[in-house]
Symmetry: none
Amino acid sequence: MTSQFTRPVRSAEVIAVGSELLGSTRLDTNSLYISERLSAIGIELRSKTVVGDNLALIADLCRQALARVDLVVMSGGLGPTDDDLTREAIAAVVARPLREDAEIVDHIAARFARRGLKMPDVNRRQGQVIQGAVVLPNPNGTAPGQYLEHGDRVIVLLPGPPRELQPMLNALCEGLLGARAAADRVYRTSLFITGRTESHVEEAAQPLYSSWRNEPEPIETTILATPGQIELHLSLRSADGAAAERRLREASDALIAALGQDVFSTDGRSMEELVGSMLRERRLTIAAAESCTGGLLMSRLTDIAGSSDYVAGGLVLYSNGLKTNVGLVPPDLIETHGAVSEPVAVAMAQGVRERSGADVCVGITGIAGPGGGTPQKPVGTVAIAVLVPGAPVRVRTVWAYGGRTQVKFNATQAALDMVRRALSG
Amino acid sequence: MTSQFTRPVRSAEVIAVGSELLGSTRLDTNSLYISERLSAIGIELRSKTVVGDNLALIADLCRQALARVDLVVMSGGLGPTDDDLTREAIAAVVARPLREDAEIVDHIAARFARRGLKMPDVNRRQGQVIQGAVVLPNPNGTAPGQYLEHGDRVIVLLPGPPRELQPMLNALCEGLLGARAAADRVYRTSLFITGRTESHVEEAAQPLYSSWRNEPEPIETTILATPGQIELHLSLRSADGAAAERRLREASDALIAALGQDVFSTDGRSMEELVGSMLRERRLTIAAAESCTGGLLMSRLTDIAGSSDYVAGGLVLYSNGLKTNVGLVPPDLIETHGAVSEPVAVAMAQGVRERSGADVCVGITGIAGPGGGTPQKPVGTVAIAVLVPGAPVRVRTVWAYGGRTQVKFNATQAALDMVRRALSG
């Protein structure tokens, strides 16, 4: 579809609507996703604003943004209730009427009917469309999005829940919005690293990326510490896609040469996805006996679609009583070495192998805190044992840094990384 | 100190400055802290904006904010480099000169000297003060903050790093800003609800909160759908704290009367915290046999500090083979009813009770998707059985809505809710 306005869209502002985003507990995370997707089609995000459910203020902010940038992305405020004001506010900004679209209302009613429910009357609001807007289907929810051109500017209305917003934004970037963007694009790649601190990654990688910054088409690098991993994000703006991707591949290879096996992912796959793929390729199954992680290791593995092909299952042995009652750990082992010890981790891995018959078995025991630490074994001490076919048991004691949920996560990350290295080595 | 302007400060906008906050990896978290601190002294945050290091745009956004609210809080952009533009931008907005403050420069030079370093010349920029501004000492860094009154409006400049910003904001709220705030404060309460959709909560609660809006001191209500629960947030601005808290308690009681047992929390506690407290009070232990949720139920329960007092442990039975091999589920039960069925859920709960000796036992089996659904048992179908002491088994089949990780979460939420109702009833 060719637009009547040919000026390319190069700049954008995001306005996230929702009083709950102004409190002290909740952040607007959609803007990160929007920033990345827009940047990929060469559109620069200039500012982003969060505003409460206030009709006049939403309209005011949108009007001011339209005076500055080519594109305004509105997220949220498309729900069925009186609080959901984005449709009315934008209709006021562009001075066009809202009309109920019978097809959308039927579609919403059908969604309710599939769950055996009658559509509440308030949901009719979600069928209101600004005159002249293109309706954007929402595969994961009731509120459709809207795309409208206003002079040479573009306004997009998207629902707030990330799993609704994301596929709709992707479709827009490949469709209506992509067609309005400029010829140059931003190309990206990323490396996920584990087993090193942020400063140790920086030390090894800095000489490489400081040289890339001085090239005619510079590669920008961002280093980011996230739970359980360090991420290096590389990006390059170019009108030549093939050349850009070749340059990024070379840069990525140079980083792998510098960082070695600590680089676990170069395609954005998480640790649980990666370990899952390795198990699937090698036709192996996995089981775990977890103490301090309370089932989180199994839960992360089963977050991946298709994981029933390789996840057998496991045991959560939270109390010491249960560890010995189910016969997995001999009581004298706990008495001699303590519940958080390498011999107990090994007994847990071996015990779950006997019971499950799985090929790869993991035992984890540790102190998640905040209580239970001692000077010898402080909070965060975790013993992990990994059994893979045809190799001696691997066992390590790690210090999983952070608060309780972080200790749990970091312990599962360390365990998955041990499985990854055992299967690679 | 009495200000010459007596109009109280009631409303605010926050503008966070820094191009790094516009990318796809970093969020402005200061705004959460600012929101909470301001709200505590009765100042309502109306919107918050993140803007890159762009002088004209920073000034433009500040000017527009001053037209709407009493207070503008600027965070970031006070560093020593050319990118740090907040001082210049605000000086332009209020049309006053910037002057170098010798005392600040000496103070910064002394900080460097203490580390055996000579102050780089660029740091002189951090000594620039807008004419008429009060300088705010920064105990944790080089950049001081600034407080200035502009007509009846207030502008505050604070540095970006949280450990510098937070103590400075606290001092302001107790000092200059506190003195400008109104006598009234905002009081809040919230209700968490499960087992109803957002629209069904709205339908039941709407008549109540629409009447509260018309009172002399209106109660504001926000409804919010989050994974596994609907949240109702109530707030009330008042100069009489005891009366406000009584009104909120009455409102909360009226909502509980309308929504019944579906209200599970009135103090912000999560479902896993609440069920944990019930188990602790009743001195009961819990165990689970999980299939489609892959350990997430146990993992959520063990996210709570002290949960080792009541979480015994459990089994993750992901493959059908493992379900029958460990003797928990007779093979003919799966053949007759299918792995996802109420009889299998009951067998799992009973089996884990026999093995663990725990008081409360849960069995969960379902289809997390995206594959494995059938017309009779679509993706999201989950059978849950709950055993509590001295009562017959409770079993339900629920439809856990959403993508794979949402199905897992919603299934654990439904299971925890069944435990909650069983222990209450």
